[in-house]
């Protein structure tokens, strides 16, 4: 078997939690980003110690809760974030379906944008010209819209055009981040077909999604990311199972916690009620002494 297409070794990235007050400009210039003057400071590692490799033709799904670093991982593979620890090697060009509207300039027409973004991603003008009809067809734009500035497009149209364009890229590695969630049913079906075709042509894909159906449909392997590290690297069914189990366990824990909280609150309330009842006669007594207003005020303050 050939070398793996994507190879991540001990990958880690750090975000500074309270960056505004963290380091002065002077320190930043002297130490750069590598040597942190206070390594014990409040740093947050969205991802750490992640190692895996993906070989050609594989489709890997990444699952995990929100905010566990799935998208960050994808961005590091795409090369748009630089890891603070470890390395990630990608052999071959990457077609990033990270955010589909990206790169479209609102002032330019759809046609100009297709040419611009297509060439930015490494397509030759001839290639774009050749695929142009196909792209428009796939995006299913209304007549005449392609020659209108993109700012007049609906968000769905922008995304459709973006996907239509990026899916024409012939790059061997594809990174897909949650983009299948957009678009109506008909368009989603088209996307599925397009992705299926890409996988058939032995291209490598990494997919982030919360949709179990999507994941099971395309992926043969799953990476389960939990609390910023790789918890499980197995087939997709097992990973999803582990994720679901954890979610369930967490939900139960949360329920228990909520129940406990509720119970505590009720107890507290009951105690307060009891206390209030005990205090009431005293207040009444003060009122009888002819200093009612004042007494009530004091009572209010005490409560």
């Amino acid at each position: 078997m050939a070398e793996p297409v994507i190879e991540a070794e001990n990958l880690g990235i750090r975000f500074a939690v309270n960056r505004r007050r963290k380091r002065s400009l002077r320190e930043m210039f002297i130490h750069g980003t590598k040597r942190d003057p206070n390594p014990t400071g409040k740093d947050f590692w969205p991802l750490r110690n992640v190692s895996f490799s993906v070989s050609q033709g594989e489709c890997v799904g990444i699952v995990g809760k929100n905010g566990t670093g799935k998208s960050t991982l994808l961005k590091m593979i795409a090369g748009v974030l630089i890891p603070d620890e470890g390395t990630v090697t990608v052999r071959g060009k990457v077609a990033p379906l990270l955010e589909l509207r990206a790169g479209f300039n609102d002032q330019l027409t759809g046609r100009e944008n297709v040419h611009l973004v297509g060439s930015l991603h490494g397509m030759t003008p001839e290639m774009i010209e050749e695929k142009f009809e196909e792209i428009i067809d796939f995006a299913n734009l209304r007549d005449g819209y392609i020659d209108m500035p993109v700012r007049h497009y609906s968000s769905g149209m922008k995304v459709r055009l973006g996907f239509a364009l990026i899916s024409q890229l012939q790059h061997p590695v594809m990174l897909v981040d949650e983009v299948l969630a957009v678009g109506d049913k008909a368009f989603r079906k088209k996307c599925y077909e397009a992705i299926g075709r890409m996988l058939e042509s032995n291209r490598t894909m990494v997919l982030v999604s919360h949709n179990e159906g999507d994941l099971k449909r395309f992926c043969d392997r799953g990476l389960y990311i939990k609390d910023g590290s790789l918890a499980l690297d197995a087939d997709i069914e097992t990973s999803l199972q582990a994720y679901n189990d954890d979610t369930k366990a967490e939900a139960e824990a949360a329920k228990k916690k909520a129940a406990a909280k509720k119970k505590a609150a009720e107890e507290k309330k009951a105690a307060e009620r009891q206390k209030a009842e005990q205090e009431k006669p005293a207040d009444g007594g003060a009122g009888k002494d002819g200093a009612g207003d004042k007494g009530e005020e004091d009572g209010g303050k005490a409560a």
Binding site: V80, P96, A102, N105
Partner: protein, 275 residues
Amino acid sequence: MASRALSVWQNRQVVGLLVKRDLKVKYQKSILGYAWSMLEPLAMAGVYFFVFGLIFNTNRGVPGGDDAPGGYLLFLISGLLPWLWFSTALNEAPKALISQAKLITTMKVPREIFPIAVVTRGFVDYLFAWPVLLLFVFALSGRTHLMGLLVWLPLALLVQYAFTLGVTFLLASVNVLVRDVERVVRILNRVLFYASAIIIPSGMVLDSDSFPGWFKVLYELNPLLGIFKMHHAVWYPADAPGAFVLGTSIGGAIIALAVGYWTFRRLETSVLKEL
């Protein structure tokens, strides 16, 4: 480092695309379109000619004497055009990365591309304005010479490109982390305009008795002074910079490029996280 330079070179086409896109966007919604590239310097020249040429009578300071071919008006124009290149780059430098955040966070290209595109676009705009310059040269019967065309002009463009790029690298990356840069730039723009002998011949400062010696040295240490003296020297041989001014210009450009690029690379990781 060498591999970075190589990958920037491989992506030079992207620079072209970004420049083309920006120009297209810039001219798209205006009726006069390309004509603005020439009208803007013309209007500026008109204002400065009125104030400095007619009211303050700066004519006397033009290098080569009062009756140098071209007069003060050509001196103005030949300084203003390259200045517009530098000043637009300076103004846009802080936003060079921020405004392209979406492209940067989804596309893997060397990030150096974006500052390079800003400087290159300014340069293209400058080239677009050359017809205006030539018009004035012919109308005012300005005269050039071999030394000016073959040495001063290419050297001025090269040094200015390097210096502007260095400054843009620095400002673009720092501004992502510390947004104060945008404010500083506005002041800087104003100060450098008057400090760089663009509309006021350098002789009026250097040959005057009202400035102390240290101030004159400081004035000469500004790398832009030499750059604009070279631009003027194309039409006014008498304005050719001396060894010291030339040295500060070339040295300043090299230092700016080195410091700017070093900072850019140093901050790249943090910048990407911040975008």
